[in-house]
């Protein structure tokens, strides 16, 4: 184990330079995101993820945000276990009827100011499952949505871009209130 630790220390960081083109995009997004988080909230941005009917594909790319290549936490973004600690609700899937109440309860448990991001085609429009008896439809049919990030699933860098856009809009409007977009 010590040899791996030593090698990891000796090597240059894998975080940004690992992947190809994505790295440059992530690098460019990273700094703007961190400043915005500081300016808008004075601290990092806390996210609570809710799967409201996803096929699990979107979850896989959200997991990727936490891997050392994208390494969300160094950008001032963090996932929280409880909605009570969250600024942003990241919601995936065509809201199924069976998840509607849980989504509403989690939304109510999230203190203001809060933002809701609909992640993935299903969350944005119901996706391929639109019209099913089992689905309510897009997230916006259940809770107010501040930002839509399309894709099936959206790539990690596209998710990062979305979070930057959200913070940028929030900080431009200067208001702390989540609903001011």
């Amino acid at each position: 184990m010590r040899s791996l630790l030593f090698k990891s220390l000796a090597k240059d960081p894998v975080t940004i330079d690992g992947p190809g083109a994505d790295a440059r995009a992530a690098k460019e997004l990273a700094s703007t995101l961190d400043d915005l988080a500081r300016r808008v909230l004075g601290r990092s941005l806390v996210i609570r993820e809710i799967d409201a009917g996803s096929c699990n594909g979107c979850e896989l790319e959200i997991h990727a945000l936490n891997n050392p290549v994208y390494d969300l936490e160094r950008l001032g973004l963090k996932f929280a276990a409880s909605p009570r600690h969250a600024d942003v609700l990241l919601v995936t899937g065509p809201v199924t009827h069976n998840m509607r109440m849980a989504l509403e309860r989690t939304w109510r448990a999230t203190p203001d100011p809060k933002w809701v991001v609909a992640l993935g085609d299903c969350a944005c429009s119901g996706g391929v499952f639109a019209g099913s008896y089992a689905c309510v439809g897009p997230v916006s049919a259940v809770v107010p949505v501040d930002l839509h990030i399309t894709g099936c699933p959206p790539r990690p860098v596209e998710i990062l871009k979305g979070l930057v856009a959200l913070l940028d809009a929030a900080s431009r409007s200067g208001a702390a209130g989540g609903r001011s977009l």
């Binding site: 184990m1 791996l4 630790l5 894998v14 690992g18 992947p19 190809g20 994505d22 993820e49 809710i50 799967d51 409201a52 009917g53 996803s54 096929c55 699990n56 594909g57 979107c58 979850e59 896989l60 790319e61 959200i62 997991h63 990727a64 936490n66 891997n67 050392p68 290549v69 996932f79 276990a81 409880s82 909605p83 899937g93 065509p94 199924t96 009827h97 069976n98 998840m99 509607r100 109440m101 849980a102 989690t106 996706g127 391929v128 499952f129 019209g131 099913s132 008896y133 089992a134 689905c135 099936c152 699933p153 790539r155």
Partner: protein
């Protein structure tokens, strides 16, 4: 002690195993259910239609499907004679309104009382009987100083929703009862009358982590139905994608289990290796998870010489770095202490439930579709099927590690032997009704897809069955008598699918 058997699969030949289907009477249906109850053969699938029910089994007579007409809305329960069928029958009742005669559990399973109609897949338009989704009678508990811990459906991590009702005596889990169905999206209803292309996009989104395995099984089912011969280059590319999906998922699970045991170093490095596999897949096939790449008749995208070189280099680079992580896992007693003898499942239980994948193989169930019901191109390769005995978290993890090694070799051999040629056979319209089955070894176990096409080529019925149906119940057994804190570890070592199960 790792046992590896490569007994060449009894069913050589590239033609996908055909699944003869015959209509039976109630007596033969009950006899088959009782045979399963005695441990003769495996229950592979149990699913309904508006006017019939189907039971897919695999026994000494080979794979086959029994069909029983349902005239008065009832059919003899298989679940009352063979436990693995219980939840499947509760789902049939919810979706088709057919009552399994003799099934003790009368509670709905997928229907939480929130749908706008009842029995959505039945012919009769039944008005909904709305209930509060929280109204669900969990099994009663007696005994002092027992307390219940409700967990979910929204969980602390980034994970699919499901409810886990723990009954604990202090720190020890006395019972875990699962409640699923939260992400039920009505996939089978949406596929009724759909074109094959539309159904393919739906099947590829039943479970995002297994989109290749599902597309593969669906394609095999359609090709069997329409007797389409897939070009050999496409067949090799399908196996390449399936093995890349397996490697990426196993790397993710290896890291996640160590992370749940608070050992972040392996989690971080597995995250890097997994990301490299996803990026190489993205470059080669245009999608990180390789979604919509396998299509009925062949594959949608070709792979360039440059990407073949990149994948060959990736496989060479990952091997040694992955083995270094395995050494660290072996050399860390604190990790072993958490995984060894935690979440044990007996060999008898995995055989009774015909539990596939690492769940089965970690408890000595020696079954892998790529070897035992070989489908193209796997009959061309010697498939190494490692099994262990212990059936605990450590064994389920080690099976994944052995499978990563085997899949890295397989990817290398597939790339070396990749033949030239077309990517897709033309789709053929049949003038009459056709049906077919696809069974594929997904990373989590065998994915079964039955499809019947109407004369006009649209989907009359399509039933995808996720391997989790026969793994979720075993998780309830695995956590018994373990400490509550070890549940995340056990759960991650199973990594069952919620969306694949809920459909």
């Amino acid at each position: 002690m790792v046992r590896r058997s490569r007994k060449s699969s009894k069913h050589a030949g590239a033609a996908p195993r055909s699944w003869p289907r015959r209509v039976v009477d109630a007596k033969a249906w009950v006899a088959q259910a009782e045979a399963l109850g005695r441990g003769e053969g495996d229950l592979v699938a149990l699913f309904g239609e508006a006017d019939r029910v189907h039971m897919a089994v695999r026994n000494t007579a080979g794979p086959q499907i029994l069909t029983l007409a349902v005239n008065d809305g009832r059919f003899p329960s298989v679940g009352s004679r063979h436990a693995p069928a219980i939840r499947l029958e509760r789902a049939i009742r919810d979706l088709f309104g057919h009552e399994p005669i003799g099934l003790a559990d009368t509670r709905p399973w997928l229907d939480h009382g929130a749908w706008p109609l009842a029995a959505p897949l039945s012919k009769r338009r039944l008005a909904a009987a709305p209930r509060s989704p929280t109204e669900y009678k969990f099994l009663p508990v007696e005994g002092e100083d027992l307390h219940q811990i409700p967990v979910g459906p929204v969980h602390a991590g980034i994970i699919e929703p499901g409810h886990f009702r723990f009954t604990a005596n202090g720190e020890t889990v006395v019972r875990l009862e699962e409640r699923l169905g939260y992400v039920h999206k009505g996939v089978e209803w949406l596929m009724q009358g759909a074109t094959v292309e539309r159904a393919a996009t739906l099947v590829g989104r039943v479970s995002g982590d297994s989109t290749v395995a599902y597309a593969f099984a669906f394609a095999l089912a359609v090709e069997t139905a329409l007797r389409i011969e897939v070009p050999v280059r496409a067949v090799y590319l399908r196996a390449l994608m399936a093995e890349l999906e397996r490697i990426a998922n196993h790397l993710g699970d290896f890291g996640a289990v160590c992370n749940d045991a608070t050992f972040v170093l392996i989690h971080a490095h597995c995250g890097i290796l997994r990301e490299q596999v996803l990026q190489a897949s993205d470059a080669a096939f245009g999608h990180r998870l390789m979604r919509d790449c396998i299509v009925p008749g062949g594959v949608a995208t070709d792979i360039s010489a440059e990407n073949i070189r990149r994948l060959k280099a990736l496989v060479e680079a990952i091997g040694p770095r992955f083995r270094e992580l395995v050494t660290i896992y072996d050399d860390t007693p604190s990790l072993q202490d958490r995984t060894v003898t935690t979440g044990t499942v007996s060999g008898d239980l995995v055989r009774r439930f015909a539990a596939g994948g690492y769940v089965g193989r970690a408890s000595a169930r020696d079954f892998d579709v790529r070897r035992d019901l070989a489908y193209a191109p796997y009959e061309k390769f010697a498939i190494d099927v490692p099994t262990l005995q212990a059936g605990d978290v450590d064994a389920r993890l080690r099976i994944r590690l052995l499978e990563i090694e085997a899949s890295l070799k397989l990817v290398r051999r597939i790339l070396e032997g990749l033949p030239r040629g077309p990517l897709r056979a033309p789709m053929r319209a049949a003038k009459d009704e056709r049906e077919g089955v696809g069974l594929v070894e997904g990373f989590r176990g065998d994915v079964f897809v039955y499809v019947r096409l109407a004369a006009d080529g649209t989907v009359a019925r399509c039933h995808p069955r996720d391997p989790s149906w026969f793994q979720w119940p075993l998780l309830e057994v695995a956590v018994k008598d373990n400490i509550v804190a070890d549940f995340p570890l056990c759960n991650k070592s199973f990594n069952c699918s919620y969306s694949g199960h809920d459909l």
